[in-house]
């Protein structure tokens, strides 16, 4: 045996004194209790730890030496366990010494039983556990510190999560704000010139799903022109500004104004490019309309000046013709020549009159004219004049309505409209003349609508726009000089009314003359 300890079998023989000495001074406390828990005997070690004298402990109960918690624990765990399983080990308790000090102990206990299982006595061994308890306290403290740290971590996580949520919310609010802006906004890469990010309205305006595809929204013309311009400007660090045209399926073309500016950092480096797109379709239309109105005014002015001069010339010619008529009364062979000169000059005067009317010169005679009976007469005359392949139907629903217009003027206007209708239907067809009373939308004043419709060629949008300009005609050269509608338009305007055209290619044309017809 590899040990320095002497091995003496005689040492196993132990005498009573030695046994008593071991009992009294063993490095642990010994207690013997009766079955009811009363202390019968304790050893010197236990007395030394607790500070009690020899006679002070017998007769008391073990749990009387414990703190309150220990007493409860003794009653609810210690005693039941001893009774149920006869022993227990390593229960941690606190002894209260005579001077009130707490002594942490670990306790082992065993119940001595008779043959029937009845308790005879209880043996308790007590170990001083001061250091161990300190260690355990440290462990506990470490555990609660850990638990606190975990809690703190959890709190931090929750805080972080709340911050994230708040950030998300701010982000959403910002996005919602972008979406309410009347312009689309975007960000482009300053090096590639590609649009990398854009707001919802940007996509809506351009009708594309992704920012890279924005050029595909443009008309092919703009795509080839604007695309390179844009990228060139961005890469050069310049501001870009341009008008984009966008083809929209089954709807009029839209116009979008785009502007992009480079953003520089404090060091003067371009870090980003931001821009806006704005729908300017309405502005564009308004501009176009204004241009049209300006153009109309100029045309009317030119026409008016020209017609005015021509009117003077024709007046001279007519005067001269009348003089000649008297002078040449005795020369009958010259009469037909003179007569034809009169006719063409009067026709010229009538045309000039129409031009003047279109230009706003009010040479028309005005009278209170009851429309329906007058139109009835005109219709009767026209019906007789028209070829058999045309049928004129009449529906007059404006009985009693009176307009401020000379009867000749109205007659000429209706004749022009019927002439146009005939021209639109070379193979014949129905021409419909009607009147009705209505209220003008904006003023709620009563007006009469005189309408002439045909089932002829009709006009496309481009033609319709120009239809009322003087000298505009779709007829072949020599088939009319295109003053008809411009005359009717001028007539309507001088009578404080309006000419409205409704037409579509192949669907015929309806011309409506809206004239004030007060009660």
């Amino acid at each position: 045996m590899d040990t320095n300890c002497p091995s003496d079998t005689d040492a196993l023989q132990i005498d009573l004194d030695e046994l008593r000495d071991l009992y009294e001074h063993a490095p642990c406390g010994y207690l013997s209790l009766d079955p009811g828990g009363c202390i019968v005997r304790v050893n010197a070690t236990f007395r030394a730890w607790t500070g009690y004298d020899t006679g002070e402990l017998p007769g008391r109960r073990f749990q009387d030496l414990l703190n309150v918690a220990g007493k409860i624990y003794y009653e609810t765990h210690f005693a039941p366990l001893l009774r149920l399983q006869g022993s227990f080990n390593e229960v941690a308790l606190d002894l209260v010494a005579k001077n009130g000090d707490r002594i942490p102990i670990l306790v082992n206990a065993a119940e001595r039983r008779d043959e029937d299982g009845k308790a005879i006595s209880i043996w308790i061994t007590v170990f001083n556990a001061t250091d161990r308890r300190r260690y355990e306290s440290e462990l506990l403290a470490a555990r609660s510190a850990l638990s606190a740290a975990n809690q703190e971590l959890q709190d931090l996580n929750e805080e972080l999560s709340a911050t994230n949520q708040s950030l998300d919310r701010t982000n959403n609010e910002l996005h919602a704000f972008y979406d309410t802006l009347p312009v689309g906004i975007f960000r482009a890469d300053p090096f590639s010139g590609e649009i990398v990010q854009a707001s919802r309205r940007f996509f809506a305006l351009l009708g594309v799903d992704s920012a890279e595809d924005w050029l595909s929204a443009l008309t092919s013309e703009d795509r080839t022109a604007i695309g390179p311009q844009f990228q060139e400007a961005i890469r050069a660090g310049k501001t870009f500004s341009g008008r984009l045209r966008i083809d929209v399926q089954d709807a009029p073309q839209r116009h979008v104004q785009m502007k992009a500016i480079p953003i520089t950092n404090s060091g003067g480096l371009i870090t980003s490019v931001v821009g806006v797109v704005e729908d300017v379709t309405e502005e564009f239309r308004a501009e176009a309309q204004k241009r049209q109105i300006d153009r109309d005014a100029i045309v009317r002015q030119l026409t008016g000046g020209f017609a005015h001069n021509l009117n003077g010339i024709l007046t001279v010619i007519l005067g001269n013709l009348e003089l000649l008529e008297e002078e040449l009364a005795d020369r009958p062979h010259l009469q037909p020549t003179l007569e034809s000169s009169f006719v063409v000059t009067q026709r010229a005067a009538k045309l000039v009159n129409h031009l003047l009317l279109y230009s706003g010169y009010t040479l028309a005679q005005f009278a209170n004219l009851e429309v329906d009976p007058h139109l009835q007469d005109i219709a009767r005359n026209q019906a007789n004049r028209l070829a058999a392949k045309y049928r004129l139907t009449v529906d007059l629903q404006a009985a009693g309505a009176v307009v401020e217009l000379g009867s000749d003027m109205l007659k000429e206007a209706i004749e022009e409209l019927i002439t146009n209708a005939v021209a639109a239907m070379p193979d014949g067809g129905d021409i419909h003349l009607s009147t009705r009373l209505t209220m003008r939308d904006e003023t709620q004043a009563r007006e009469i609508v005189i309408a002439v419709s045909d089932q002829g060629f009709g006009m496309d949008n481009a033609t319709l726009k120009k239809a009322r300009e003087p000298f505009f005609t779709k007829r072949e050269v020599g088939m009319g000089i295109g003053l008809g509608l411009s005359f009717v338009d001028g007539l309507a305007r001088v009578a404080s009314g309006e000419l409205r055209l409704r037409s579509a290619s192949g669907k015929g044309t309806t011309v409506e003359l809206h004239l004030p017809a007060p009660d």
Partner: protein, 264 residues
């Protein structure tokens, strides 16, 4: 999950009135092991573990449901309704005495007799009321449970866990009767020792026996008398026993007192 599994309900005896034994704070239904043999011949003995104790289903435990004794009282009612054995004699030890009071108050039709062993409606002194403990002493107990579970329950756990499928092995494992998850034990201790059910006593409307130990620091004689005075139809019997667990220290006297009460 059935309430039978949840509360590890055991039934001993084939016929007779049902008698339910409910254990108190600390251990489990084994607390009644020396008492039940005196009843299995002529009663159907029902034993169970409070949820969180013994071999109850720990997954059924929740700090909310069991933050007051009502949660356990509801369990008792669920068990009785599930067993459907007729009116029961309820014997409750320690904190289960109050659980019995709450259950009998809520559904008196399920009970014929109530036996309260070492009852206390409130452990902490309150004005003129003497419960036996001060609030700081109870706080000390809760701290104390912490230190014991550090070196004790934790060390015990693996041994128990090693035999989950063979409960008969676990039966005699050291300290297993009083084994409880430290978290649950602390929670139950707080629920138990901070409870106040004094106002429920007057509503007990069935014959009640109070079994009081001569010397019991947890439920002193003054508390037993308080309970007796508060419950209208009640008897108080003081056993010549010390400690809080006469079912262990004086099982014969305890059994006799209960039988005398039932057969009176």
């Amino acid at each position: 999950m059935s309430v039978i599994t949840r509360n590890n309900v055991q039934i001993l005896g084939d016929s007779g009135s049902p008698i339910v034994f409910a254990h108190g704070f600390g251990c489990d239904q084994n607390m009644w092991r020396f008492v039940t043999p005196n009843f299995t011949d002529d009663f159907r003995v029902v034993l169970f573990d409070l949820v969180g104790a013994g071999r109850s289903d720990l997954s059924a435990w929740s700090p909310d449901r069991y933050s007051s004794l009502e949660g356990h009282a509801d369990d008792v009612l669920e068990i009785l309704r599930e067993l459907d054995l007729g009116k029961a004699i309820f014997v409750g030890h320690s904190v289960s005495a109050m659980i019995g009071v709450l259950a009998a108050r809520a559904a008196p039709e399920l009970f014929s007799h109530l036996v309260l062993v070492g009852p206390s409606p409130k452990y902490i002194n309150d004005g003129n009321y003497f419960g036996g403990f001060t609030a700081p002493e109870i706080e000390e107990l809760l701290e104390f449970l912490d230190s014991n579970h550090m070196g004790w329950s934790a060390a015990m756990a693996p041994t128990i866990m090693a035999n989950p499928d063979r409960p008969e092995l676990g039966e005699e494992l050291t300290n297993s009767f009083c084994r409880t998850d430290p978290e649950i034990a602390r929670h139950f201790a707080r629920t138990t020792f901070t409870s106040d059910n004094r106002s429920d006593l007057a509503h007990v409307a069935i014959p009640t026996l109070i079994l009081q130990c001569r010397e019991d620091i947890i439920a002193p004689q003054a508390v037993g008398k308080y309970v007796h005075d508060a419950i209208p139809d009640s008897q108080l019997v003081t056993l010549d026993a010390t400690g809080h667990c006469p079912n262990l220290s004086a099982p014969e006297a305890t059994s006799t007192a209960i039988r005398d009460f039932i057969f009176a």
